[in-house]
């Protein structure tokens, strides 16, 4: 935002490059081979639903598209609402690349429909060799990933593990550099 935008009160949002989402596909190779981290076969996209008919039409159209393209690869889609009023579209499938493609399809349709600002994040679920669950969360507005590792207990996170993951992934993923923006998602349903 330049000086004139500040003075005139204009707000211009930077649209992060869409293919930064796909970085996780290439990073997944490193996850599997070097770090022993495998996909749990599920990914989700989180957005704020609007009650307009137009929005509902786009959402059901997206679900159809994912079901259609995922038919061959076996990607299923499921929709649910959470206590914060956000909608989760959960994609399940055995091939990780198909999950990424599916997530991208949903986000593209929403953005094409003009509802890009409704998008919150995408969540990819993984597990390590000790079967501990860990997530990589992609923030659409920042165009960057950050790790989230829930720990046992009520709303606990394993910050040390998250920082180690950040160091391990290196430059493979565009990681959010500001640690104050590593917001957790409590109660992830995948």
């Amino acid at each position: 935002m330049g000086l004139f935008d500040v003075i005139l009160g204009r707000r211009r949002l930077a649209r992060p490059a869409p293919d930064r989402l796909f970085a996780v596909s290439t990073a997944y190779v490193k996850f599997e081979t070097e770090l022993g981290i495998t996909s749990r076969g599920s990914a989700a996209i989180v957005f704020q639903p609007l009650s307009t008919a137009d929005f509902e039409a786009i959402v059901s159209e997206m679900e159809e598209v994912v079901k259609a393209t995922g038919g061959e690869s076996g990607v299923t889609v499921q929709s649910s609402d959470d206590p914060y009023g956000f909608r989760w579209l959960v994609l399940r499938g055995s091939a990780f690349d198909d999950l990424v493609v599916g997530i991208n399809a949903v986000s593209s349709s929403l953005e094409a429909g003009g509802y890009g600002e409704r998008l919150l994040c995408a969540v990819f679920a993984f597990q390590d060799r000790q079967q501990h669950v860990l997530y990589w969360i992609y923030n659409f507005k920042r165009g960057a990933y950050y790790p989230f590792v829930p720990a046992p207990g009520e709303q606990q996170r394993d910050t040390e593990r998250e920082l180690v993951l950040k160091a391990q992934v290196g430059a493979e993923l565009p990681v959010e550099q500001e640690l104050q923006r590593w917001f957790p998602l409590w109660g992830i349903p995948i």
Partner: protein, 285 residues
């Protein structure tokens, strides 16, 4: 570090010149300062522990704490220091002692309740690095000459008043002595702060080497530093309301002048250095 040491040496040289110019009072000053230096050297650890209300604990009273310290000492090849606990809710940990053989490591009950075992290990590794680097000795020596300068300033005031009526020529000379001493003291104090900040980075590095887990120390630093700078607990969905409305980048407090006076580097600088170490460990640097 080298620049700071050089500048400190320069300060000492100026100081010696002033001491010579001060004449007869120099011997008295040196003797008094020397005695006080020895007192400071031998009793500063007891004074520090007493002021914090710390009490030494035995392995039976605090078995986990002693176990962590023992493991770290084996790793760092240090003799095991005394362990003390201070009863206060403020999270803090410090190490005192003039040499590794006469050291005490103290933690507060606040930090014991706040941190997980691996984070506590990171913090204790930092404190033991201070012991290993003999930071108490280094800082005492460095501050020794600063205290001599302070004494000259006081002596100058005392002598300046006595000689005023009898010998007008020596009046201005003593004023110069006072001013120079005061300037020396201010400069050396600022350099001491810079030296202290460097030692903190060195202790962070030492902790990463001893424990092999720099990220645990990062996590501990965030927890100790408080909410404003911490990795958030607030859910993304709860936070996104404000973010969506304003998209203001969080303000970064400019720390230029304040940082001159602080004994510790800013949190972000420490975290950045530790993250570089972690990246080196993981082979992605």
């Amino acid at each position: 570090m080298l620049l700071t040491l050089f500048l400190l040496g320069l300060v000492y040289a100026v100081l010696i010149g002033v001491l010579i110019a001060a004449g007869a009072g120099a011997v008295t000053i040196a003797v008094i300062a020397g005695v006080l230096f020895l007192v400071q050297f031998f009793t500063s650890d007891k004074i520090a522990l007493f002021s914090m209300g710390a009490r030494e604990v035995s392995p039976q009273e605090a078995p986990e704490l002693h176990a962590i310290v023992e493991r770290l000492c084996v790793q760092a090849n240090l003799p095991k220091p005394r362990v003390a606990i201070a009863q206060t809710a403020m999270p803090n940990a410090f190490a005192v002692g003039r040499s590794p053989r006469n050291a005490t490591v103290c933690v507060t009950t606040g930090i014991l309740n706040l941190l997980s075992p691996s984070e506590l290990e990171g913090v204790l590794g930092h404190e033991l690095s201070h012991v290993q680097n003999r930071d108490v000795l280094v800082m005492t020596l460095a501050s020794f000459f600063a205290s001599i300068a302070a004494f000259i300033t006081q002596m100058g005031f005392w002598f300046g008043g006595a000689f005023d009526e009898r010998d007008n020529n020596s009046g201005p000379a003593f004023i110069v002595v006072i001013l120079v001493s005061a300037l020396v003291y201010v400069i050396s104090w600022l350099l001491l702060q810079a030296l202290s900040r460097y030692r903190e980075f060195a202790a962070d590095r030492g902790s990463a080497i001893i424990t092999g887990r720099p990220s645990a120390l990062i996590s501990a630093l965030y927890k100790i530093s408080g909410q404003m700078q911490a990795i958030p607990q607030q859910d993304l969905r709860a936070a996104s309301g404000e973010l969506a409305a304003f998209y203001i980048v969080p303000p970064r407090a400019k720390q230029t002048l304040a940082s001159l006076f602080s004994t510790h580097p800013p949190l972000e600088a420490r975290v950045a250095a530790l993250q570089r170490l972690e990246a080196q460990l993981q082979g992605t640097a």
